[in-house]
Amino acid sequence: MKLKRTIRQVFAIAKTDFLGIVRNKTAIFFTLLFPLFFLIIIGFTFGTQGTGETSRIQVGTVNLDGNMIDVNGTVSQNSTIGDVFVQVLKDANFTVYEYDVYGDKDTNGTAAYDISRGEIKIAVVLPANFTETLSYQYTDSLGIPIPTRAHLDLYTDPSDPTGSIIGQQSLLGFISGFIKYYQEIAINQLPENLQDYAEVLADPITVSTSEADVSGRQLRWIDYMVPGTLGLVLLWSGLNHASVAIATERTKGTFQRMVIAPVSSITVLAGKFISSLAIVYISAVIMLASGLLLFQVNLYWNVPAIILAIFLGALSAIGIGLIISSIAKNEEAANSIAVLISVPLQFFIGAFFPLDIMPEPAQIFGEALPFTKLVYAMQDIMTKNLPFEAVMPEIIYLTISGLILFVVGIIAYRLSLKRL
């Protein structure tokens, strides 16, 4: 009888708390939709990367190959190989902008000007003797070709290191392919008995790269990102909501009214926990469904593992939220503290960017966060299709940290009752 009454009280508190979110547009946005907002913005910006698509890379070419040049005392104006280079670059699906000169950042219409304004990420300058060097036109007095290298200049945008690195790596990859193509043509022109030697000299080491049989699927960045955003859900829907749930009631006085009713403080807490958990799961469903509908993510759906991992992560998020809610003087203070914590944290949990690119202290900090462990576990399960046992270390970490933070949260909550 008493248990039945307590259960009714718990669900009444949970329902009332839940209605407070769904009937408040601002709360809906910050609690349920803010992570989605992030997913959409970043998803549309970077989401399709990882499929080898180069059309987003803007390359400027300054092809000086057709310019007049002195070769062995005579004027040459051959642009054949330079033109082929630019055409192949276009065929390789780079977005190519052609310039007459590299120029400087203040002169409109030059490659340097467009780099300075972010129009292109990288520029490649082909020298005037590009064709002449590659076709062995430089000879000595006896008419024997002088080995001369062709030299390309690449210019990147220092104000956009990430875009520059991506552009540079892609362009170097293209140049490497172009050199290989050129070597094959040159070697074929050698006497047959020398061709094998020349091939070895040209490529003394061969490398073959294959994709490991990890998921059996071609994955894009967005496919990694969507499981990662479940960490964001914990921060925004779990931590943030739990932070204000009790603080708001305390500010409005409704908490005091609950305390003077024949309801134990743990019953109130249980109701708040259930509503926070419901909000976390709803937000997670919104995120995953949006990933499917907007970005057609290609993931594995081990639903029980996902539900369990989110639950364990939510213990940490709600635990921290309870601590904030208990120490904050009012709703506004709780909200500010929650935002102050969750905004920076979202960049340390590996949801958007791998922790490997961060400085070591940031990596150590990020690795210590339970939310990072959830992100790792979700990425392993949903993108690599690893079995649940494979993410046991993350699950154990989530369980221990979740229990510690939740218990500390309960203690802080009980202490806060004395301030009423």
Binding site: T16, G20, R23, G253, T254, M258, I260, A261, L420
Partner: protein
């Protein structure tokens, strides 16, 4: 059989170095309407919080319905219906949803809860349209009625009304007095916390006046007024009030105490003169005021009030305390 619904025995509450409630003892009989009167900071709120179990006393015992609150907190909470000073309702829910929520907290469910909600919705006098609107759209009076209804859901034996009239206009204030009187007639034991002397005087069977954590007077309003032998007050409205005038009034024979007071309804400054024989000294008052060059615009004789009792006991006016 216990005739008292509330028994407070030697209760003290300390907050670090501050003594909020100092060795207070009092009893509230079954069916009695008990006024707890005092300025802000007198200890009324702390005493009320201890009564409803929100705060534990540092020492002393509190019994409600015969149950010691320390040992039977849940039982005591079931007996109590608390109407907080502020409107404590969920503004994103309508009246029915709010009442359903608070009813469930008190263990009501099913048909019993539904019937009780309908009964109390009639009590709130809200029409069906208003019932369906969120509380945030209600007027102050409507909110106040739902606020009271939420405390009545479980048909409590004892009610604690904490400054229920705070922020209400005179019309709504009178309507609320009627509600309180109705609850009193129904036999409920009511503790009414207020800083309004007229409210305590009009509604209460017994009054305790608190100041600085202590009960400085306890009894029926009539008894208290008689006890301090202040049957009369002369209220004078002069054209202007000067220190010289106040000094002249003080010197009149038979004046026990005099003070400046602001009449909020008339928006005028007045002089209150407390005396045991108003009619006898009235001519002297008139001549005394005239002697310092002031003109009298009006004079009124009235019997003593609880405000006068407070002033006599503390040397301060309740209103002054409120303004501090």
């Amino acid at each position: 059989m216990n005739l008292n619904d509330i028994e407070i025995d030697a209760v003290t509450k300390r907050f670090e170095d501050t003594v909020a409630v100092d060795n207070v003892s009092m009893k509230v009989a079954k069916g009695e309407l008990f006024g707890l009167l005092g300025p802000n900071g007198a200890g009324k709120s702390t005493l009320t919080k201890m009564l409803c179990g929100m705060v534990n006393p540092t020492s002393g015992t509190i019994k409600v319905g015969g149950y010691n609150i320390r040992d039977n907190a849940m039982k005591v909470k079931e007996l109590l219906g608390v109407v907080p000073q502020d409107i404590v309702l969920y503004d994103y829910m309508n009246a029915r949803e709010n009442l359903a929520f608070f009813g469930k907290l008190y263990g009501l469910s099913g048909g019993k809860l539904r019937d009780r909600i309908e009964e109390l919705l009639k009590f709130t006098q809200l029409d069906e349209k208003a019932v369906k609107r969120h509380i945030s759209t209600y007027s102050g009076g409507m909110k106040r009625r739902v606020n009271i209804a939420a405390a009545l859901l479980h048909e409590p034996q004892v009610m604690l009304l904490d400054e229920p009239n705070a922020g209400l206009d005179p019309g709504n204030r009178l309507a609320l007095w009627e509600i309180i009187q109705t609850l009193h007639k129904e036999g409920k034991t009511i503790v009414l916390t207020t800083h309004m002397m007229d409210e305590a005087e009009e509604l209460s069977d017994q009054v305790a006046i608190m100041d600085k954590g202590k009960i400085i007077a306890l009894g029926s309003p009539r008894q208290l007024i008689k006890k301090v032998k202040m049957e009369n007050t002369i209220t004078v409205v002069p054209n202007k009030i000067t220190p010289k005038l106040m000094e002249a009034v003080k010197k009149i024979s038979g004046v026990k105490r005099s003070y400046r007071a602001y009449d909020e309804e008339e928006k005028i400054e007045t002089i209150k003169i407390i005396t045991e024989r108003a009619e006898d000294i009235l001519p002297e008052v008139v001549s005394g005021i005239s002697s310092v060059g002031s003109k009298i615009l009006s004079v009124q004789l009235s019997r003593g009030t609880l405000e006068d009792v407070f002033i006599l006991l503390t040397g301060r006016s309740l209103r002054e305390e409120e303004q501090l």
